[in-house]
């Protein structure tokens, strides 16, 4: 029983050694969540790195980190952004006023305005599926099996084990947002923004 009582804390591990860059996740998310044209709750960033011919390609699937210390949550003036008690950060579309302050506050570009619903939107960790005991759409269709989803508070869960037994990274740890999306084998040059072009003054 005590087991059952224990609070859940959902998290995702993206094992980049298995990410084939197919974007099945991106497409399934758009279809499952009816994400409008031109908007993405998840996407896969890709870079090429090295000096020819010593070049390698890296991938980084991106989505909301469901931060434990979420700036978007703090920013929302009407508490439309809220945290479900399993840790998932959600948006109450019936109360979002669309001030977009959360988008300015999110260090991860995770949010966007849904042009049809006219509210903020982002990855929900497929809350509606997870509630029904299913897995998020992007996880279920992940061709390489890179995306793993589960309860961090359950030491027996795959996510917990992966995090325990691998060196994992999160995006922008210095922001102290405590992201709940963990990466295995992410290349440092793909994890953040790249300013070189800007500094060169490219207009």
């Amino acid at each position: 029983m005590a087991e059952a009582e224990k609070k859940k804390r959902y998290a995702m591990v993206v094992d980049l050694r298995k990410c084939v860059g197919c974007n099945a996740c991106t497409v399934s998310c758009k279809i499952e969540n009816q994400v409008p044209e031109g908007e993405y709750r998840t996407w896969v960033k890709e870079i090429e790195k090295g000096t020819y011919p010593e070049v390698t390609r890296y991938r980084l699937p991106r989505l909301c980190n469901h931060c434990d210390n979420a700036p978007c949550l703090a920013a929302c003036p009407v508490k439309a952004t809220y945290r479900a008690d399993d840790g998932t950060i959600l948006i109450d579309y019936d109360h979002c006023i669309g001030c977009k302050y959360c988008m300015a506050a999110c260090p991860y570009d995770a949010r966007f305005v849904n042009p049809i619903r006219k509210t903020a939107e982002k990855c929900t960790f497929c809350y509606h599926r997870v509630q029904a005991g299913l897995l998020p759409a992007c996880v279920t269709t992940c061709v390489g099996g890179a995306r793993v989803f589960g309860d961090l508070n359950d030491p027996q869960s795959l996510v917990a084990k992966l995090i325990a037994n691998n060196s994992v990274q999160v995006l922008k740890p210095e922001m102290n947002t405590k992201p709940m999306v963990y990466y295995i084998g992410a290349d440092r040059d793909i994890m953040g923004a790249r300013y070189t072009n800007l500094e060169k003054g490219v207009k």
Partner: protein
């Protein structure tokens, strides 16, 4: 040297756009104007008393329009009222909601006490529409006794004293809206609220000067810039000079620190100083908006010329608009996960709204200065120059 090329990624357009920048501009003007008006009433600097009313009228008129930009920028404007009861103690905007209500309220009452005497006098000395209006505006308190007037002055002082921090907060909080956001390197500095305040003072003074010149010349009972008025305006010009100095200094400090902060901070500084925003920042915001007015208020020739000063004042307005745009939009253009500036294109409907709101602002200011006794009561056939003077003395 760079050894990375981006293959695939998605755009993240800027979300808080020109509406927010202009909103910040308005609140800044309002706060600036109010502080100046308080110099006479609260800080007891005699010579500024004569512009106290003008300052407050401006402060109110500007703040009446400012929030419209906020609401207009909402994706769900019809839900704006929920801001009043779905509070989030962590969100600067939540606080702003209340500041934005309290501050104008306070200012209105404050203004009423300043004008009650004129209303009361006008209610008896004037005729026609004004008389009716003023009688109504006395709200039944026509008492012109010494004690009554003394009581007014006391309230004026009290409310003014409350008003100053409110004004500073109203504008300070906009600074916090940005400063609180760690994600945006350009915003995330303790200086942000101060920078916003000083630029507010600069632009506030700038607009005040312009408004005074215009209204005193055309809408004051005397319909002229009396020598003492001219002197006062030039004097305010000198005030503006000092605001500019402080504002400029803060900017310099901010950028020095940016250069020593993390990669994002460094990039932010680069973008503004060397990158795509160079002209908007160095040219318009600093050059046109601060340097030129500073010079004009410095040189012995120009600082004595109303013409040059009003030009300088006008430039500060342009400069501060540029500053709001550079920081609000520029701050978000700096990429968080890509290798190019985040795209921004102002929505046409937003530009339209801004235009309409600006017109409304001018109308309100005109009406206020036209019909309220900002510069005392108009001469009327019965009233002698003396009691006109008297009418002036009280301030």
């Amino acid at each position: 040297m760079d050894n990375v090329t981006y293959l695939a990624n998605i755009d993240h357009p800027v979300q808080l756009g020109v509406m927010i920048a202009i909103y910040f501009f308005y609140t800044g003007l309002s706060a600036g104007a109010f502080v100046l008006s308080s110099l006479g009433t609260v800080f007891g600097i005699k010579k500024y008393k004569s512009i106290a009313k003008a300052g407050v009228v401006m402060a109110i008129a500007l703040l009446a329009i400012a929030p419209l930009h906020l609401i207009g920028d909402l994706e769900q404007p019809q839900r704006f009222y929920t801001l009043f009861y779905r509070l989030n103690p962590h969100s600067a905007i939540s606080y702003g909601t209340f500041l934005l209500t309290l501050y104008p309220l306070n200012s209105v009452i404050y203004l009423w006490f300043m004008m009650r005497r004129d209303f009361a006098q006008g209610a008896v000395t004037l005729t026609g529409f004004r008389q009716k209006l003023y009688r109504f505006l006395t709200f039944g308190n026509g008492d012109l006794s010494e004690q009554a007037l003394a009581k007014d002055d006391l309230w004026i002082k009290r409310l003014g004293t409350l008003g100053v921090p409110l004004a500073l907060l109203v504008h300070g909080y906009t600074g916090f809206i940005l400063a609180n956001i760690q994600a945006r390197a350009l915003w995330h500095t303790g200086l942000m609220p101060l920078i916003f305040l000083m630029s507010a003072m600069v632009s506030g003074t700038g607009l005040l000067i312009l408004v005074l010149i215009l209204t005193e010349r055309f809408l004051s009972p005397e319909k002229m810039l009396t020598p003492e008025r001219k002197a006062l305006i030039l004097d305010i010009g000198q005030l503006m000079k000092w605001f500019i100095v402080v504002d400029g200094t803060l900017m310099v400090i901010d950028f020095i620190v940016l250069y020593y902060s993390n990669a994002a901070g460094y990039a932010a500084a680069e973008v503004l100083l060397h990158g795509s925003h160079q002209t908007m920042f160095l040219g318009v915001e600093l050059g046109l908006g601060l340097l030129l007015p500073f010079v004009l208020t410095l040189l012995s020739k120009t600082k004595k010329s109303l013409g040059w000063i009003s030009l300088g004042s006008f430039c500060t307005l342009i400069g501060v608009i540029a500053m709001r745009v550079n920081f609000v939009i520029g701050g978000q253009q700096l990429p968080l996960s890509t290798d190019t500036l985040n795209p921004y294109t102002a929505a046409p409907e937003h530009l339209l709204m801004i235009g309409i709101f600006a017109l409304a602002e001018i109308v309100i200011l005109y009406l206020a200065f036209r019909f309220l006794p900002v510069y005392g009561l108009p001469k009327n056939p019965t009233a002698s120059p003396q009691n006109f003077k008297a009418g002036h003395e009280v301030m």
